[in-house]
Symmetry: C2
């Protein structure tokens, strides 16, 4: 049984988003891959307010229950797949907000992108995020699923279905997340039981 | 009388922020400069929720009253000074959220940074923001006020006071914002009365 946990984080929270549908396509691929216990984390359901902690997250001295809950959620993960949109060639605010709330909970964990958008398939948002991930001591993997013209892969009910190329990219990314999560294991603090 | 409006946008919204105090230092400098009618816009007071519009902002078909109000506010500006923190080497979520809500309201208007932080004085956040500003057709000016070790300039009551070098940088930035706002005037739509 897999003892590494992958969290699929749905970054878009707006009404009408396609992000949740992209995650619903990716999740069974991640489950079938077998290396991870898979957990879907939808930022629309997490519903964090705009960052409102008075102290720096590196102190891990959180005032609000929503922060403590978010800390518990992220602490139990070993790897992340960010299902992320591109807004104005950058990452969306809800994703940056969710990242900024915490610090050590993210550290020494690999992260991959399932990004989507128009012509660039969300690659600019992913690129802009890398300096932020570096500060959080996350390890972005180079294998990624980038989905250009995402609405071309939507059916009449708004369900997204990726093609074979995307599914192969997903598997390559999951392989890399698994290798990296295993390798970084000695660096990770056991925050979940700490 | 100045017929160009500068909005000083306070980007940090968290409790304990120093951003409002930095803006309170900058505002009288901007007023004394004389080129602009100066308006303080505090994102903590604007209090936008996480982006929740179903349609793309370029359509300018807003569903929510908070978006319509924000559109009216930004539309009446001719230039912006962003009083911005640096979170994880990037811009904070509240600022990206406020930018992403709108589109044409930002276009053809110059923008300068009054950024603050630790060793880098917020320069990394400002740098990371430039690709986003470019999509919005904003013109970042190179003159800027970057404040390293911002808490070294705070008194016992938490009031920030910049030094002479910062005040000179502010004046140079205001000069450049003024020249650029004048030059770009023919490109701006008159959204306020549109």
């Amino acid at each position: 049984m897999a003892d590494l946990r992958l969290q699929i984080i749905v970054a878009s929270t707006r009404p009408g988003r396609i992000g949740r549908s992209v995650a619903d396509w990716f999740q069974p691929i991640a489950e079938a891959h077998g290396a991870f216990e898979v957990e879907l984390v939808d930022l629309a359901e997490v519903a964090l307010p705009m960052f409102d902690e008075p102290k720096h997250p590196r102190l891990r001295d959180y005032e609000h229950q929503h922060t403590k809950d978010w800390s518990d959620t992220v602490a139990r993960a070993d790897a992340f797949a960010l299902v992320m949109p591109e807004y104005n060639h950058g990452f969306n605010a809800a994703l940056k907000n969710a990242l900024d709330y915490l610090a050590i909970e993210w550290a020494h964990k690999p992260v991959g992108a399932v990004s989507y958008g128009g012509v660039a398939g969300g690659t600019r948002a992913w690129q802009l995020l890398k300096p932020v991930l570096a500060v959080l001591q996350m390890t972005p993997v180079v294998e990624a699923v980038h989905i250009p013209f995402v609405h071309d892969h939507e059916d009449d009910e708004g369900r997204f279905a990726g093609d074979d190329v995307m599914a192969e990219a997903a598997t390559a990314m999951l392989d890399s997340l698994h290798r990296t999560a295993e390798a970084l294991r000695p660096l990770r603090s056991d925050l979940a039981t700490g």
